[in-house]
């Protein structure tokens, strides 16, 4: 069992649709990060959330940290083919735990 559970594992949508990816845990984290990994590349940091209830926006991407700092979500509005990739959540701390990832495919 992973410390961070991501859902769904795979998501295929049409360009212009919205999607939400979830990252859940039974543990409390001081902060949580979201990374995106494109094929053939390493993960790249998108955002860090620190405060319970925090919402951060990055263009069409909205990130939320749960009030209890145990979960987070990533919402993409009007998805584009360039949003295709593997989305990973990661908890800060010594163990630097990653979730299993959500593979997103946005079809033109």
């Amino acid at each position: 069992t992973q410390l961070l559970e991501q859902s769904p594992q795979f998501l295929s949508i049409q360009e212009g649709e919205n999607l939400t990816v979830y990252c859940n845990s039974s543990s409390v984290f001081s902060s949580l990060q979201w990374y995106r990994q494109e094929p053939g590349e390493g993960p790249v940091l998108l955002v860090t959330v620190v405060t319970g209830g925090e919402v951060k926006k990055l263009k069409r991407l909205t990130f939320q940290f749960g009030d209890a700092r145990k979960d987070s979500s990533l919402h993409i509005t009007a998805a584009q083919p360039g949003d295709t990739g593997l989305y990973l959540c990661k908890a800060a701390g010594n163990k630097l735990t990653f979730g299993g990832g959500t593979r997103v495919l946005v079809k033109p």
């Binding site: 992973q2 961070l4 991501q6 594992q9 001081s30 902060s31 990060q33 053939g40 590349e41 390493g42 993960p43 790249v44 940091l45 860090t48 620190v50 990973l88 990661k90 800060a92 701390g93 163990k95 630097l96 735990t97 990653f98 979730g99 299993g100 990832g101």
Partner: protein, 113 residues
């Protein structure tokens, strides 16, 4: 521009061989990490290092060792490669800050036959 370079993109080795995976960063970061990535399992931490000649076990260190003789270089060693070590290996580095923002290399895809 931040750069983490892994020496090989693809490697094919035979069971029992000793394998070296090299990683170099040019950002003067204190911390360096080795992960393996397998479908559905995300990234699992093998070893990390927070200073030269220092190393700490991650979640799955069995079958691996590491070397950090210089600050910019972190090597992952498979003493006797096995087929279950076929995977994507990712190196990362970070500053010694609480937010632990990690910068990753492009990965080495290792196949052990």
């Amino acid at each position: 521009d931040v750069k983490v370079t892994q020496s090989s993109r693809y490697l094919v080795k035979r069971t029992g061989e000793k394998v070296f995976l090299e990683c170099v960063q040019d950002m003067d970061h204190e911390n360096m990490f080795w992960y393996r990535q397998d479908p559905g399992l995300g990234l699992r931490l093998i070893y990390f290092s927070y200073d030269v000649k220092m190393k700490e076990k991650g979640d799955i260190p069995e079958g691996y060792s590491v070397s950090r003789e210089k600050k910019e270089r972190f090597s992952l060693i498979l003493e006797s490669a096995s087929t279950n070590q076929t995977s994507m290996y990712l190196c990362a580095s970070s500053l010694g800050t609480a937010k632990n923002i990690q910068y990753f290399g492009a990965g080495t895809r290792l196949s052990v036959l």
